[in-house]
Protein backbone atom coordinates (compact mmCIF):
# COMPACT_ATOMS: atom_id res chain seq x y z
CA UNK A 1 0.00 0.00 0.00
CA UNK A 2 1.54 3.28 -1.01
CA UNK A 3 0.57 6.56 0.57
CA UNK A 4 -0.43 9.36 -1.84
CA UNK A 5 2.40 11.90 -1.96
CA UNK A 6 0.05 14.83 -1.27
CA UNK A 7 -0.76 13.31 2.10
CA UNK A 8 2.88 13.42 3.20
CA UNK A 9 3.65 17.05 2.40
CA UNK A 10 4.24 17.95 6.05
CA UNK A 11 6.52 14.93 6.45
CA UNK A 12 8.44 15.91 3.33
CA UNK A 13 8.83 19.46 4.61
CA UNK A 14 10.37 18.17 7.84
CA UNK A 15 12.70 15.85 5.96
CA UNK A 16 13.86 18.65 3.66
CA UNK A 17 14.31 21.14 6.49
CA UNK A 18 16.25 18.74 8.67
CA UNK A 19 18.37 17.63 5.76
CA UNK A 20 19.67 21.18 5.30
CA UNK A 21 20.68 21.58 8.93
CA UNK A 22 23.72 20.46 10.82
CA UNK A 23 23.24 18.41 13.95
CA UNK A 24 23.29 21.34 16.35
CA UNK A 25 20.78 23.29 14.28
CA UNK A 26 18.49 20.26 14.15
CA UNK A 27 18.47 20.22 17.92
CA UNK A 28 17.38 23.86 18.01
CA UNK A 29 14.89 23.30 15.17
CA UNK A 30 13.10 20.63 17.19
CA UNK A 31 13.05 22.90 20.22
CA UNK A 32 11.47 25.61 18.04
CA UNK A 33 8.79 23.19 16.86
CA UNK A 34 8.17 22.23 20.49
CA UNK A 35 7.80 25.87 21.48
CA UNK A 36 5.48 26.56 18.56
CA UNK A 37 3.40 23.50 19.44
CA UNK A 38 3.02 25.00 22.89
CA UNK A 39 1.00 27.81 21.36
CA UNK A 40 -1.56 25.37 19.94
CA UNK A 41 -4.01 24.61 22.71
CA UNK A 42 -4.13 21.00 23.82
CA UNK A 43 -7.21 20.05 25.87
CA UNK A 44 -5.98 19.89 29.44
CA UNK A 45 -8.57 17.27 30.32
CA UNK A 46 -6.86 15.00 27.79
CA UNK A 47 -3.60 15.12 29.74
CA UNK A 48 -4.75 12.10 31.71
CA UNK A 49 -3.87 8.44 32.06
CA UNK A 50 -6.24 7.46 29.24
CA UNK A 51 -4.23 9.45 26.71
CA UNK A 52 -0.84 8.87 28.27
CA UNK A 53 1.66 6.97 26.19
CA UNK A 54 3.67 4.70 28.44
CA UNK A 55 7.37 4.10 28.23
CA UNK A 56 8.74 7.60 27.72
CA UNK A 57 11.26 9.46 29.88
CA UNK A 58 8.88 12.39 29.78
CA UNK A 59 5.11 12.29 29.70
CA UNK A 60 3.48 12.08 26.28
CA UNK A 61 -0.24 12.34 25.66
CA UNK A 62 -1.78 11.64 22.28
CA UNK A 63 -5.36 12.47 21.35
CA UNK A 64 -6.84 10.67 18.39
CA UNK A 65 -10.04 11.07 16.44
CA UNK A 66 -11.43 9.86 13.14
CA UNK A 67 -12.66 12.67 10.90
CA UNK A 68 -14.22 11.81 7.53
CA UNK A 69 -12.55 8.42 7.53
CA UNK A 70 -9.04 9.63 8.26
CA UNK A 71 -7.10 9.66 11.50
CA UNK A 72 -6.20 12.94 13.17
CA UNK A 73 -3.70 13.08 16.00
CA UNK A 74 -2.61 15.77 18.40
CA UNK A 75 0.17 15.33 20.90
CA UNK A 76 1.46 16.94 24.03
CA UNK A 77 4.44 16.44 26.32
CA UNK A 78 5.81 18.05 29.46
CA UNK A 79 9.27 18.31 27.85
CA UNK A 80 9.79 20.81 25.02
CA UNK A 81 12.03 18.60 22.92
CA UNK A 82 9.62 15.70 23.17
CA UNK A 83 6.77 18.07 22.40
CA UNK A 84 8.65 18.97 19.22
CA UNK A 85 9.12 15.33 18.31
CA UNK A 86 5.47 14.46 19.03
CA UNK A 87 4.39 17.43 16.98
CA UNK A 88 6.51 16.26 14.05
CA UNK A 89 5.00 12.79 14.25
CA UNK A 90 1.39 13.87 14.58
CA UNK A 91 1.89 16.55 11.90
CA UNK A 92 3.54 14.08 9.52
CA UNK A 93 1.10 11.23 9.86
CA UNK A 94 -2.31 12.77 10.50
CA UNK A 95 -4.90 12.71 7.73
CA UNK A 96 -4.19 9.12 6.72
CA UNK A 97 -6.66 6.26 6.44
CA UNK A 98 -6.13 3.19 8.60
CA UNK A 99 -4.47 1.29 5.77
CA UNK A 100 -2.23 4.23 4.91
CA UNK A 101 -1.20 4.67 8.53
CA UNK A 102 -0.46 0.97 8.83
CA UNK A 103 1.79 1.33 5.77
CA UNK A 104 3.99 3.96 7.41
CA UNK A 105 7.30 2.25 8.03
CA UNK A 106 9.99 2.67 10.62
CA UNK A 107 12.27 3.59 7.72
CA UNK A 108 10.12 6.66 7.12
CA UNK A 109 10.59 7.67 10.74
CA UNK A 110 14.31 7.08 10.33
CA UNK A 111 14.05 9.23 7.20
CA UNK A 112 13.46 12.22 9.45
CA UNK A 113 17.14 11.75 10.21
CA UNK A 114 16.93 12.39 13.93
CA UNK A 115 19.23 9.52 14.76
CA UNK A 116 22.08 11.81 15.70
CA UNK A 117 19.90 13.30 18.40
CA UNK A 118 20.45 10.10 20.40
CA UNK A 119 18.89 6.70 20.05
CA UNK A 120 16.57 7.31 22.95
CA UNK A 121 14.67 9.85 20.98
CA UNK A 122 14.86 7.77 17.82
CA UNK A 123 13.42 4.81 19.67
CA UNK A 124 10.82 7.11 21.20
CA UNK A 125 9.72 8.14 17.71
CA UNK A 126 9.30 4.49 16.74
CA UNK A 127 7.19 3.96 19.84
CA UNK A 128 5.07 6.97 18.90
CA UNK A 129 4.43 5.57 15.41
CA UNK A 130 3.44 2.20 16.85
CA UNK A 131 1.19 3.91 19.38
CA UNK A 132 -0.54 5.93 16.64
CA UNK A 133 -0.99 2.78 14.54
CA UNK A 134 -2.41 0.98 17.55
CA UNK A 135 -4.90 3.78 18.21
CA UNK A 136 -6.07 3.75 14.61
CA UNK A 137 -6.36 -0.04 14.64
CA UNK A 138 -8.38 0.10 17.83
CA UNK A 139 -10.74 2.66 16.28
CA UNK A 140 -11.01 0.47 13.18
CA UNK A 141 -11.87 -2.60 15.23
CA UNK A 142 -14.39 -0.62 17.26
CA UNK A 143 -16.05 0.55 14.03
CA UNK A 144 -16.13 -3.05 12.76
CA UNK A 145 -17.81 -4.19 15.92
CA UNK A 146 -20.39 -1.39 15.66
CA UNK A 147 -21.10 -2.30 12.04
CA UNK A 148 -21.45 -5.96 12.94
CA UNK A 149 -23.86 -5.06 15.73
CA UNK A 150 -26.03 -3.17 13.28
Amino acid sequence: MSIPAEKLTQYDEYVEALDLLDEESRFEYIIDIGKRADKTPFPSDCMDDVHLMHGCMSKVWIVHEVVDGVHEFRGQSDAIIVKGLVSMMTGSFSGLTSDELAAVTLDQVRGLNLGALTMQRQVGMMAMLKHMQKLSQRAENGADRSAAAE
Binding site: E24, F27, M57, A79, I80, I81, V82, L117
Partner: protein, 424 residues
Protein backbone atom coordinates in the same frame (compact mmCIF):
# COMPACT_ATOMS: atom_id res chain seq x y z
CA UNK B 1 38.74 39.86 36.63
CA UNK B 2 36.34 38.39 34.08
CA UNK B 3 33.86 35.71 34.99
CA UNK B 4 35.86 33.20 33.00
CA UNK B 5 39.10 34.15 34.73
CA UNK B 6 37.40 33.85 38.10
CA UNK B 7 36.12 30.41 37.16
CA UNK B 8 39.57 29.32 36.06
CA UNK B 9 41.19 30.65 39.23
CA UNK B 10 38.66 28.89 41.37
CA UNK B 11 39.04 25.68 39.41
CA UNK B 12 42.81 25.91 39.81
CA UNK B 13 42.37 26.30 43.56
CA UNK B 14 40.29 23.17 43.64
CA UNK B 15 42.80 21.34 41.47
CA UNK B 16 45.38 22.10 44.14
CA UNK B 17 43.15 20.33 46.61
CA UNK B 18 43.68 17.34 44.41
CA UNK B 19 47.47 17.47 44.83
CA UNK B 20 48.93 14.01 45.14
CA UNK B 21 46.14 12.55 43.08
CA UNK B 22 47.00 12.80 39.42
CA UNK B 23 43.60 12.81 37.80
CA UNK B 24 45.03 13.37 34.33
CA UNK B 25 47.15 10.26 34.64
CA UNK B 26 44.13 8.31 35.87
CA UNK B 27 42.06 9.56 32.94
CA UNK B 28 44.62 8.11 30.57
CA UNK B 29 43.89 4.69 32.04
CA UNK B 30 40.29 4.89 30.78
CA UNK B 31 40.30 4.61 26.97
CA UNK B 32 36.72 5.79 26.53
CA UNK B 33 37.42 9.13 28.20
CA UNK B 34 39.40 10.27 25.17
CA UNK B 35 36.43 9.95 22.82
CA UNK B 36 34.08 12.65 21.70
CA UNK B 37 30.29 12.81 21.76
CA UNK B 38 28.48 15.15 19.36
CA UNK B 39 31.89 16.56 18.48
CA UNK B 40 32.65 17.46 22.11
CA UNK B 41 34.95 15.72 24.59
CA UNK B 42 32.96 13.17 26.57
CA UNK B 43 32.16 14.35 30.09
CA UNK B 44 31.02 11.18 31.77
CA UNK B 45 28.80 12.06 34.71
CA UNK B 46 26.78 8.84 34.75
CA UNK B 47 29.08 6.65 36.81
CA UNK B 48 26.34 6.12 39.38
CA UNK B 49 24.53 4.13 36.70
CA UNK B 50 27.67 2.38 35.53
CA UNK B 51 31.30 3.42 35.72
CA UNK B 52 33.79 3.34 32.86
CA UNK B 53 36.47 0.66 32.71
CA UNK B 54 40.22 1.18 33.04
CA UNK B 55 42.61 -0.47 30.63
CA UNK B 56 43.68 -2.87 33.40
CA UNK B 57 40.16 -4.35 33.56
CA UNK B 58 39.76 -4.55 29.79
CA UNK B 59 43.18 -6.18 29.35
CA UNK B 60 42.61 -8.69 32.14
CA UNK B 61 39.33 -9.84 30.59
CA UNK B 62 40.75 -10.05 27.08
CA UNK B 63 43.83 -11.84 28.33
CA UNK B 64 41.84 -14.50 30.15
CA UNK B 65 39.72 -15.14 27.07
CA UNK B 66 42.74 -15.29 24.78
CA UNK B 67 45.07 -17.38 26.90
CA UNK B 68 43.50 -18.87 29.99
CA UNK B 69 39.86 -19.53 29.36
CA UNK B 70 38.05 -22.68 30.41
CA UNK B 71 35.44 -23.58 33.00
CA UNK B 72 36.35 -23.48 36.67
CA UNK B 73 35.94 -25.90 39.58
CA UNK B 74 35.58 -29.07 37.52
CA UNK B 75 38.16 -29.63 34.84
CA UNK B 76 40.86 -32.28 35.29
CA UNK B 77 43.37 -30.28 33.34
CA UNK B 78 45.95 -27.56 33.65
CA UNK B 79 43.85 -24.66 32.35
CA UNK B 80 40.99 -25.43 34.70
CA UNK B 81 43.28 -25.66 37.69
CA UNK B 82 45.06 -22.39 36.99
CA UNK B 83 41.88 -20.48 36.18
CA UNK B 84 40.11 -21.91 39.23
CA UNK B 85 43.00 -20.63 41.34
CA UNK B 86 42.69 -17.23 39.71
CA UNK B 87 38.93 -17.14 40.09
CA UNK B 88 39.10 -18.11 43.75
CA UNK B 89 41.89 -15.58 44.18
CA UNK B 90 39.39 -12.89 43.22
CA UNK B 91 37.18 -14.02 46.08
CA UNK B 92 40.14 -13.37 48.38
CA UNK B 93 40.72 -9.99 46.71
CA UNK B 94 37.10 -9.01 47.35
CA UNK B 95 37.32 -10.20 50.94
CA UNK B 96 40.42 -8.08 51.53
CA UNK B 97 38.86 -5.09 49.80
CA UNK B 98 35.95 -4.90 52.23
CA UNK B 99 37.85 -6.54 55.10
CA UNK B 100 35.64 -9.61 55.36
CA UNK B 101 36.72 -12.16 57.94
CA UNK B 102 37.14 -14.84 55.29
CA UNK B 103 36.78 -15.36 51.55
CA UNK B 104 34.08 -17.91 52.43
CA UNK B 105 31.88 -14.98 53.38
CA UNK B 106 31.96 -13.71 49.79
CA UNK B 107 29.18 -14.96 47.52
CA UNK B 108 29.48 -14.09 43.84
CA UNK B 109 26.18 -12.90 42.35
CA UNK B 110 25.12 -11.22 39.13
CA UNK B 111 24.73 -7.81 40.73
CA UNK B 112 23.41 -6.04 43.82
CA UNK B 113 19.83 -6.77 42.83
CA UNK B 114 20.48 -10.49 42.79
CA UNK B 115 22.36 -10.30 46.09
CA UNK B 116 19.38 -8.67 47.80
CA UNK B 117 16.96 -11.09 46.17
CA UNK B 118 19.16 -13.92 47.39
CA UNK B 119 18.97 -12.70 51.00
CA UNK B 120 15.21 -12.10 50.75
CA UNK B 121 14.60 -15.53 49.20
CA UNK B 122 16.82 -17.52 51.56
CA UNK B 123 17.31 -15.69 54.85
CA UNK B 124 13.93 -14.01 54.47
CA UNK B 125 11.93 -17.15 53.80
CA UNK B 126 13.68 -19.08 56.56
CA UNK B 127 13.84 -16.52 59.34
CA UNK B 128 10.99 -14.09 58.67
CA UNK B 129 7.33 -14.82 59.06
CA UNK B 130 3.94 -13.12 58.97
CA UNK B 131 3.89 -9.88 60.91
CA UNK B 132 7.68 -9.49 61.09
CA UNK B 133 8.98 -6.07 60.13
CA UNK B 134 11.73 -5.20 57.65
CA UNK B 135 13.02 -1.62 57.94
CA UNK B 136 14.21 0.17 54.82
CA UNK B 137 14.76 3.91 54.29
CA UNK B 138 12.88 6.45 52.21
CA UNK B 139 15.78 6.68 49.75
CA UNK B 140 16.15 3.12 48.54
CA UNK B 141 16.81 1.94 45.01
CA UNK B 142 14.01 -0.31 43.76
CA UNK B 143 16.44 -3.20 44.19
CA UNK B 144 16.09 -2.78 47.95
CA UNK B 145 12.32 -2.28 47.91
CA UNK B 146 10.79 -4.75 45.49
CA UNK B 147 12.39 -7.97 46.84
CA UNK B 148 10.97 -7.15 50.28
CA UNK B 149 7.58 -6.28 48.81
CA UNK B 150 7.56 -9.64 47.06
CA UNK B 151 8.32 -11.30 50.38
CA UNK B 152 5.59 -9.23 52.00
CA UNK B 153 3.10 -10.43 49.41
CA UNK B 154 4.30 -14.00 49.82
CA UNK B 155 4.53 -14.44 53.58
CA UNK B 156 3.02 -11.29 55.06
CA UNK B 157 5.99 -9.38 56.44
CA UNK B 158 5.57 -5.68 57.07
CA UNK B 159 7.69 -3.06 55.30
CA UNK B 160 8.65 -0.11 57.52
CA UNK B 161 10.07 3.06 56.02
CA UNK B 162 12.62 5.12 57.94
CA UNK B 163 12.05 8.75 56.91
CA UNK B 164 14.53 11.36 55.70
CA UNK B 165 14.48 15.12 56.14
CA UNK B 166 14.42 17.64 53.31
CA UNK B 167 18.22 17.55 52.99
CA UNK B 168 18.09 13.80 52.48
CA UNK B 169 19.44 13.01 55.95
CA UNK B 170 18.10 9.86 57.58
CA UNK B 171 16.00 10.60 60.67
CA UNK B 172 17.85 8.43 63.19
CA UNK B 173 15.28 8.97 65.96
CA UNK B 174 12.45 7.84 63.71
CA UNK B 175 14.62 4.93 62.56
CA UNK B 176 15.17 3.94 66.18
CA UNK B 177 11.42 4.03 66.81
CA UNK B 178 10.92 1.49 64.01
CA UNK B 179 13.23 -1.00 65.71
CA UNK B 180 10.49 -2.49 67.83
CA UNK B 181 9.99 -6.09 68.86
CA UNK B 182 8.37 -7.00 65.54
CA UNK B 183 11.29 -5.77 63.46
CA UNK B 184 13.47 -8.67 62.38
CA UNK B 185 15.71 -7.14 59.71
CA UNK B 186 17.07 -3.79 58.56
CA UNK B 187 17.92 -3.44 54.85
CA UNK B 188 19.26 -0.02 54.02
CA UNK B 189 21.30 1.85 51.48
CA UNK B 190 24.77 2.91 52.62
CA UNK B 191 24.78 5.73 50.09
CA UNK B 192 21.73 6.98 48.17
CA UNK B 193 22.03 6.60 44.40
CA UNK B 194 19.89 9.71 43.93
CA UNK B 195 20.87 12.08 46.72
CA UNK B 196 24.38 10.89 47.46
CA UNK B 197 23.56 10.83 51.16
CA UNK B 198 25.95 8.61 53.10
CA UNK B 199 24.10 7.22 56.09
CA UNK B 200 25.80 6.68 59.48
CA UNK B 201 26.06 2.97 58.76
CA UNK B 202 27.93 1.94 61.90
CA UNK B 203 25.37 3.73 64.07
CA UNK B 204 22.49 2.18 62.11
CA UNK B 205 23.97 -1.28 62.65
CA UNK B 206 24.70 -0.64 66.35
CA UNK B 207 21.14 0.56 67.03
CA UNK B 208 19.71 -2.52 65.31
CA UNK B 209 22.12 -4.91 67.00
CA UNK B 210 21.22 -3.46 70.39
CA UNK B 211 17.80 -4.98 69.72
CA UNK B 212 19.15 -8.18 68.19
CA UNK B 213 18.20 -7.18 64.64
CA UNK B 214 20.55 -8.05 61.75
CA UNK B 215 21.38 -5.45 59.09
CA UNK B 216 21.89 -5.64 55.34
CA UNK B 217 23.63 -2.64 53.80
CA UNK B 218 23.32 -1.85 50.08
CA UNK B 219 26.80 -0.61 49.26
CA UNK B 220 26.39 -0.22 45.50
CA UNK B 221 27.34 3.45 45.62
CA UNK B 222 29.24 3.55 48.91
CA UNK B 223 31.88 1.00 48.02
CA UNK B 224 32.88 3.10 45.01
CA UNK B 225 33.47 6.34 46.85
CA UNK B 226 35.15 5.38 50.12
CA UNK B 227 36.86 2.62 52.06
CA UNK B 228 34.36 0.08 53.37
CA UNK B 229 35.21 -2.21 56.27
CA UNK B 230 32.38 -4.67 56.86
CA UNK B 231 33.83 -5.84 60.16
CA UNK B 232 34.20 -2.31 61.50
CA UNK B 233 30.61 -1.62 60.40
CA UNK B 234 29.61 -4.99 61.88
CA UNK B 235 27.21 -5.40 58.94
CA UNK B 236 25.55 -8.80 58.74
CA UNK B 237 25.13 -8.56 54.97
CA UNK B 238 26.83 -6.12 52.63
CA UNK B 239 26.02 -6.08 48.92
CA UNK B 240 27.48 -4.29 45.92
CA UNK B 241 27.92 -4.60 42.20
CA UNK B 242 31.01 -4.79 40.01
CA UNK B 243 30.09 -2.47 37.18
CA UNK B 244 29.82 0.65 39.31
CA UNK B 245 33.24 -0.16 40.78
CA UNK B 246 35.00 0.20 37.40
CA UNK B 247 34.55 -3.54 36.80
CA UNK B 248 32.40 -5.42 34.30
CA UNK B 249 28.65 -5.94 34.33
CA UNK B 250 27.02 -9.21 35.41
CA UNK B 251 29.01 -9.66 38.59
CA UNK B 252 28.09 -8.60 42.08
CA UNK B 253 28.95 -9.46 45.64
CA UNK B 254 27.05 -10.62 48.68
CA UNK B 255 29.07 -10.49 51.86
CA UNK B 256 27.40 -12.38 54.68
CA UNK B 257 28.67 -13.26 58.11
CA UNK B 258 29.75 -16.91 58.09
CA UNK B 259 27.32 -17.94 60.82
CA UNK B 260 24.40 -16.45 58.90
CA UNK B 261 25.35 -17.92 55.53
CA UNK B 262 25.74 -21.33 57.18
CA UNK B 263 22.11 -21.25 58.31
CA UNK B 264 20.67 -20.14 54.99
CA UNK B 265 19.18 -22.59 52.48
CA UNK B 266 20.31 -22.51 48.81
CA UNK B 267 19.05 -19.82 46.46
CA UNK B 268 18.99 -21.68 43.15
CA UNK B 269 19.61 -25.35 42.39
CA UNK B 270 22.05 -26.76 39.88
CA UNK B 271 25.67 -27.57 39.37
CA UNK B 272 28.45 -26.22 41.56
CA UNK B 273 26.22 -25.72 44.62
CA UNK B 274 25.92 -29.37 45.62
CA UNK B 275 27.91 -31.81 47.73
CA UNK B 276 26.26 -35.01 46.47
CA UNK B 277 23.30 -35.73 44.21
CA UNK B 278 21.21 -38.90 43.92
CA UNK B 279 17.67 -39.19 42.59
CA UNK B 280 16.49 -39.52 46.16
CA UNK B 281 18.41 -36.73 47.80
CA UNK B 282 20.83 -33.88 47.22
CA UNK B 283 23.10 -32.45 49.83
CA UNK B 284 24.32 -28.93 49.40
CA UNK B 285 27.79 -27.48 49.38
CA UNK B 286 29.02 -25.22 52.16
CA UNK B 287 28.84 -21.44 51.70
CA UNK B 288 29.69 -19.60 49.58
CA UNK B 289 29.30 -22.30 46.87
CA UNK B 290 25.85 -23.25 48.15
CA UNK B 291 24.60 -19.95 46.74
CA UNK B 292 26.41 -20.13 43.40
CA UNK B 293 24.51 -22.54 41.17
CA UNK B 294 25.79 -23.03 37.65
CA UNK B 295 28.89 -21.82 35.88
CA UNK B 296 29.90 -18.56 37.54
CA UNK B 297 30.80 -15.29 35.78
CA UNK B 298 34.42 -16.30 35.33
CA UNK B 299 35.67 -13.60 32.97
CA UNK B 300 33.70 -10.98 34.87
CA UNK B 301 35.27 -12.12 38.13
CA UNK B 302 38.74 -11.68 36.66
CA UNK B 303 37.65 -8.21 35.54
CA UNK B 304 36.31 -7.31 38.95
CA UNK B 305 39.51 -8.53 40.56
CA UNK B 306 41.47 -6.26 38.23
CA UNK B 307 39.17 -3.33 39.06
CA UNK B 308 39.65 -3.82 42.80
CA UNK B 309 43.42 -4.09 42.34
CA UNK B 310 43.28 -0.88 40.31
CA UNK B 311 41.34 1.22 42.83
CA UNK B 312 43.30 -0.30 45.70
CA UNK B 313 46.58 0.76 44.09
CA UNK B 314 45.29 4.32 43.85
CA UNK B 315 43.83 4.09 47.34
CA UNK B 316 40.21 4.52 48.35
CA UNK B 317 41.18 7.36 50.69
CA UNK B 318 42.82 9.26 47.83
CA UNK B 319 39.79 8.63 45.65
CA UNK B 320 37.50 9.91 48.39
CA UNK B 321 39.60 13.05 48.87
CA UNK B 322 39.51 13.79 45.15
CA UNK B 323 35.78 13.20 44.92
CA UNK B 324 35.18 15.36 47.99
CA UNK B 325 36.89 18.23 46.19
CA UNK B 326 34.68 17.60 43.17
CA UNK B 327 31.62 17.55 45.41
CA UNK B 328 32.53 20.83 47.09
CA UNK B 329 33.22 22.51 43.76
CA UNK B 330 30.06 21.16 42.15
CA UNK B 331 27.87 22.20 45.08
CA UNK B 332 29.41 25.67 44.95
CA UNK B 333 28.92 26.11 41.21
CA UNK B 334 25.41 24.68 41.14
CA UNK B 335 24.56 26.68 44.25
CA UNK B 336 25.39 29.87 42.37
CA UNK B 337 22.75 29.17 39.73
CA UNK B 338 19.45 30.64 40.89
CA UNK B 339 17.38 28.35 38.68
CA UNK B 340 18.93 25.13 39.97
CA UNK B 341 17.08 23.25 42.66
CA UNK B 342 19.35 20.68 44.27
CA UNK B 343 18.07 17.55 45.93
CA UNK B 344 20.35 16.00 48.50
CA UNK B 345 22.34 18.43 50.63
CA UNK B 346 23.29 16.11 53.47
CA UNK B 347 26.59 16.97 55.17
CA UNK B 348 27.82 13.41 54.54
CA UNK B 349 27.46 12.97 50.83
CA UNK B 350 29.09 11.43 47.77
CA UNK B 351 29.71 13.41 44.56
CA UNK B 352 26.21 12.83 43.22
CA UNK B 353 24.20 15.87 42.14
CA UNK B 354 20.47 15.49 41.64
CA UNK B 355 18.76 18.62 40.43
CA UNK B 356 16.16 20.28 38.28
CA UNK B 357 16.23 23.62 36.52
CA UNK B 358 13.17 25.58 37.57
CA UNK B 359 10.66 25.71 34.73
CA UNK B 360 12.58 23.31 32.52
CA UNK B 361 11.77 19.64 32.18
CA UNK B 362 14.69 17.45 33.34
CA UNK B 363 14.66 15.71 29.96
CA UNK B 364 15.25 19.04 28.19
CA UNK B 365 18.06 19.86 30.61
CA UNK B 366 19.68 16.46 30.15
CA UNK B 367 19.32 16.62 26.37
CA UNK B 368 21.12 19.97 26.33
CA UNK B 369 23.86 18.55 28.56
CA UNK B 370 24.14 15.64 26.14
CA UNK B 371 24.66 18.08 23.25
CA UNK B 372 27.64 19.43 25.21
CA UNK B 373 29.01 15.91 25.59
CA UNK B 374 27.90 15.68 29.23
CA UNK B 375 26.40 12.27 29.99
CA UNK B 376 23.90 12.34 32.84
CA UNK B 377 20.86 10.34 33.78
CA UNK B 378 17.36 11.73 33.81
CA UNK B 379 14.19 10.38 35.36
CA UNK B 380 13.40 8.60 38.56
CA UNK B 381 16.67 6.70 38.96
CA UNK B 382 14.95 3.47 40.04
CA UNK B 383 13.72 5.29 43.13
CA UNK B 384 10.10 6.24 42.48
CA UNK B 385 9.08 6.39 46.16
CA UNK B 386 11.94 8.83 46.81
CA UNK B 387 10.79 10.99 43.90
CA UNK B 388 7.32 11.05 45.45
CA UNK B 389 8.90 12.09 48.77
CA UNK B 390 10.77 14.89 46.99
CA UNK B 391 7.61 15.91 45.15
CA UNK B 392 9.08 15.69 41.64
CA UNK B 393 8.48 13.50 38.62
CA UNK B 394 12.18 13.16 38.04
CA UNK B 395 15.56 14.85 38.26
CA UNK B 396 18.75 15.16 36.31
CA UNK B 397 21.51 13.24 38.04
CA UNK B 398 25.19 13.93 37.55
CA UNK B 399 27.10 11.19 39.33
CA UNK B 400 30.84 11.71 39.38
CA UNK B 401 33.73 9.33 39.78
CA UNK B 402 37.47 9.42 40.39
CA UNK B 403 38.27 10.26 36.77
CA UNK B 404 36.21 13.46 36.71
CA UNK B 405 37.59 16.96 37.02
CA UNK B 406 36.49 20.40 38.12
CA UNK B 407 36.96 21.54 34.52
CA UNK B 408 34.28 19.04 33.51
CA UNK B 409 31.95 20.54 36.10
CA UNK B 410 32.53 23.89 34.38
CA UNK B 411 31.45 22.31 31.09
CA UNK B 412 28.24 21.13 32.76
CA UNK B 413 27.59 24.58 34.23
CA UNK B 414 28.05 26.22 30.82
CA UNK B 415 25.63 23.70 29.28
CA UNK B 416 23.09 24.43 32.02
CA UNK B 417 23.37 28.11 31.14
CA UNK B 418 22.68 27.23 27.52
CA UNK B 419 19.64 25.21 28.59
CA UNK B 420 18.37 28.26 30.44
CA UNK B 421 18.79 30.32 27.28
CA UNK B 422 17.08 27.70 25.09
CA UNK B 423 14.18 26.80 27.33
CA UNK B 424 13.87 29.53 29.90
Amino acid sequence: MTDLAQDLARAAKHHNLEAGFDVERIRQDFPILSREVHGKPLVYFDSGASAQKPRAVIDAMVEVMENEYTNVHRGAHYLSQTLTDRYEGVRETIARFINAGSENEIVITRNTTEAINLVAATYGRKFLSKGDGVVISDMEHHANIVPWQMLRDEIGIELKIAPIDDRGVLDLDAYGDLLDQNTKLVAMTHCSNVLGTVVPAAEIVRMAHDRGIPVLLDGSQAVVHSKVDVQALDADFYVFTGHKLYGPTAIGVLYGKAELLAQMPPYQGGGDMIATVTYDKTTYAEPPYRFEAGTPPIIEAIGLGAAIDYVSAIGMDAIQTHESALLAYGMERLGEMPDIKLFGTAPEKAAIFSFIQEGIHPFDTAATLDRAGVATRVGQHCAEPLMARLGVDGTVRASLAMYNTTAEIDVMIAALERARALFG
